[in-house]
């Protein structure tokens, strides 16, 4: 599954994820009718609107095979919150069976595929931003660290207050724009202070937030999704 954000805004990251899986010997299917996990409206309280969207997505995954998602937030939504969304609904069992099969991308690469990566890139220093959903919900904060640690020419720089939320929170960034703005400023200050050349993350929501802010600040600090980063580093082709 690509996720709605990746489909429209970070398609290359999604493709990179699929290629990484393919390289590891997995047959990757991209269901053409997928749309969204329904988190945006669920988190805004509009569960009635979320249900049909979730149902439409559910139809894309009829087979009992793993569903890999390049986003902790979307993976978490399906895996842990579809049970709430579908509570009392007649198709809850079906929803739960989909939820059971969900993996976040780095989780799948490490836990199920045991990928081995060879670094073909130039030496570089990066910072890792773990999304709150990867850290607190999916509990896969260490998977991104473990993948990056396999890249011999990549140095991961330490940062202050690493677990702190970047302020995205989906619609929070719109509804409480100033608080969100203050939070992303604090986060970008910390990231810039590491002197890394790139910030890498498992979630595009955070990247849109942090990357967008860095760009507005005219910073040279780049951002990239982990899938894109890993693909570039292990293939050297641009």
């Amino acid at each position: 599954m690509g996720t709605c954000l990746v489909d429209l805004f970070y398609p290359k990251a999604g493709l990179a994820g699929m290629q990484l899986l393919k390289n590891a010997g997995v047959k990757v299917i991209y269901p053409g009718k997928q749309t969204c996990c329904a988190q945006p409206s669920f988190n805004s309280g509009y569960r009635k609107e979320a249900l049909p969207v979730a149902r439409s997505l559910m139809k894309c995954f009829p087979k009992d095979i793993p569903i890999v998602i390049p986003s902790g937030s979307c993976a978490g939504m399906i895996k842990y919150h579809w049970s709430e969304l579908f509570e009392g609904e007649s198709d809850i069992e079906k929803a739960l069976s989909v939820a059971e099969r969900v993996y976040e991308l780095t989780e799948f690469l490490v836990d199920k595929l045991n990928v081995e990566l060879t670094d073909l890139g130039e030496p570089t220093k990066i910072a890792i931003h773990t999304s709150c959903s990867c850290r607190n919900e999916m509990k896969v904060a260490d998977r991104i660290e473990s993948l990056v640690s396999q890249l011999s020419k990549v140095e991961v720089l330490e940062q202050e207050r690493k677990p702190e939320c970047c302020g995205f929170g989906g619609t929070f960034a719109i509804k409480q724009g100033d608080i969100s703005g203050s939070m992303v400023k604090d986060k970008t200050d910390i990231l810039k202070a590491t002197n890394a050349s790139c910030v890498v993350s498992q979630d595009c929501g955070c990247l849109m937030n942090i990357g967008g802010a860095l760009e507005k600040q005219n910073s040279k600090l780049k951002t990239q999704h982990i899938a894109q980063f890993l693909w570039d580093r292990t293939n050297a082709a641009n």
Partner: protein
């Protein structure tokens, strides 16, 4: 509570206050680190949280029986029990006790529940002098402010601000910013007050039904002063603070102090089971407990939200909340701020008045991860959001369901639903968004103030996947 400024104004004020930002940053980092140091073993922590969660779940589930048992055992011990459905009732009960005893001066230990009912203001209006004795609360009272955190009430103030407020009030002391000296001066001032007070008022951390015992944690000694020196002791508590057995106390005490202030244990743990008995030479001659409902029994009836009542008021969720760190406590405009505040207060005071508070949350989940009794705070906050915009109008358990539903927003989500629940419509939308990606919204609320506005790519992932030859089925 009087809301003179709107939530929006209070948020603006908080965000533009650099000093506040700095104070809270350093305070929250300090508290989080102290807590982390107390829980070095992940597995042990998980186990401890499960135990505490179970104890509190059972207590909340059996609340009516336990309260009856508590009352029985307290009365056996000569502690008079009073029940107050509302804050006004509670205030009147306290006032009546003081009036009957002709009590004119009262010393008070830190108690969030008395903040909740605005006891100080009530007694003040009746001409009874009531003095906060917890150092943080004392300093906040001097500055004529409200506490900004449930455990560390003066956390929003730095040394300079504190010294100024103190010496404005007590010009007889030489000005200093030395913490030790200020503390000694406060000790001097309050000592005589403790000795001469007509009554002492306190909260309760845990009320043990099995033995009729009220338990209090503290570091300063003011709590013990308030509950031991004056001839009358009035304790006020929310009805949810009861636990079943004495053996429930050690695990709860342990996780409370470690979560709240990162201490293995507080200086004093005070377990009171009776006023002064025959032959004893000190202790209050009479003791009262006021059991406050103020919306709690209604929350209890709401199965979805009942877990809110497990809270042991440690403040850990508040310390870890990134939004609270940005705003501080006052911006919330409620007695309880942070994650527990935005969960509890709309349920107590209604969604119409306080529904907006649920937007003060990024759903980062940090609060749920640290709650010592495993209250699923993000889940409860999300449920309140749902109640606020599409709740069932016949649900009488929370006031104001559906009151935050806005026509524009609900229309937007309806359109979103149409697009995203239909692969066909979505494919059209996707084509338009990508091919015409040079047209992107200039404004997305305040998004553009802090970041560049995102643009859809020229090609969707679906297209790229196609091109790269990935199967669809």
């Amino acid at each position: 509570m009087q809301q003179i400024k709107s939530l929006e104004n209070r948020i603006d004020e908080a965000l533009s206050n650099e000093q506040l930002h700095t104070n809270f940053r350093s305070a929250m980092s300090y508290l989080m680190e102290k807590r982390r140091d107390q829980f070095p073993d992940e597995k042990q922590l998980k186990n401890d949280r499960e135990i505490s969660s179970t104890i509190r779940s059972h207590a909340v589930a059996q609340l009516s029986e336990l309260l009856v048992k508590l009352e029985e055992n307290l009365e056996k011990n000569n502690i008079k029990v009073h029940w107050a459905e509302t804050d006004l009732e509670a205030n009147n009960i306290v006032y009546q006790i003081l009036k009957d005893a002709n009590a004119k001066s009262v010393v008070k230990g830190k108690s969030m529940v008395t903040e909740e009912i605005e006891l100080n203001e009530f007694l003040d209006n009746k001409g009874i002098e009531i003095l906060e004795t917890d150092l943080g609360e004392f300093l906040v009272q001097l500055a004529n402010e409200k506490p900004s955190h449930i455990v560390m009430p003066a956390i929003h103030k730095n040394r300079k601000e504190i010294s100024k407020a103190f010496f404005d009030h007590f010009p007889e002391f030489p000005y200093t910013e030395d913490v030790d000296l200020i503390t000694q001066q406060v000790r001097k001032i309050l000592r005589e007050r403790f000795r001469k007070a007509d009554a002492g008022i306190s909260g309760v951390n845990f009320a043990v039904a099995e033995t009729g015992t009220l338990c209090l944690v503290e570091n300063e000694g003011n709590g013990r002063m308030c509950t031991t020196a004056p001839p009358i002791h009035i304790a006020v508590t929310g009805i949810e603070k009861v636990v079943e057995k004495l053996s429930d106390i050690p695990p709860l005490l342990d996780i409370l102090t470690k979560s709240a202030t990162g201490q293995e244990i507080t200086t004093y743990f005070n377990m009171i089971s009776s006023p002064r008995r025959e032959g004893e030479k000190d202790g209050p001659k009479s003791m009262h407990l006021v059991l406050l409902d103020n919306g709690r029994s209604k929350i209890h009836q709401n199965n979805d939200m009942q877990e809110t009542l497990k809270c042991i008021r440690c403040g850990s969720c508040i310390n870890h909340c990134p939004v609270y760190t940005q705003l501080g406590g006052h911006a919330y405009g409620t007695v309880y701020p942070g994650p527990i505040g935005i969960t509890l207060e709309p349920q107590k005071q209604g969604i119409t008045q306080l529904g907006e508070l649920t937007s003060l949350c990024t759903m980062c989940g940090a609060c749920g991860e640290v709650c010592p009794v495993q209250i699923p705070l993000p889940k409860l906050i999300n449920k309140l959001r749902s109640e606020a915009v599409e709740g069932n109008n016949t649900n009488e358990l929370i006031e104001g369901t559906r009151s935050k539903r806005k026509p524009l927003e609900s229309l937007a989500w309806k359109i979103w639903k149409q697009v995203y629940s239909s692969p066909f419509i979505y494919s059209i939308f996707s084509k338009i968004a990508t091919k015409l990606n040079f047209i992107s919204p200039k404004k997305l609320g305040k998004w553009g103030k802090y970041r560049i506005t995102p643009r859809p790519s020229k090609h969707s992932l679906k297209e790229l996947a196609n091109q790269a030859g990935f199967d669809h089925e």
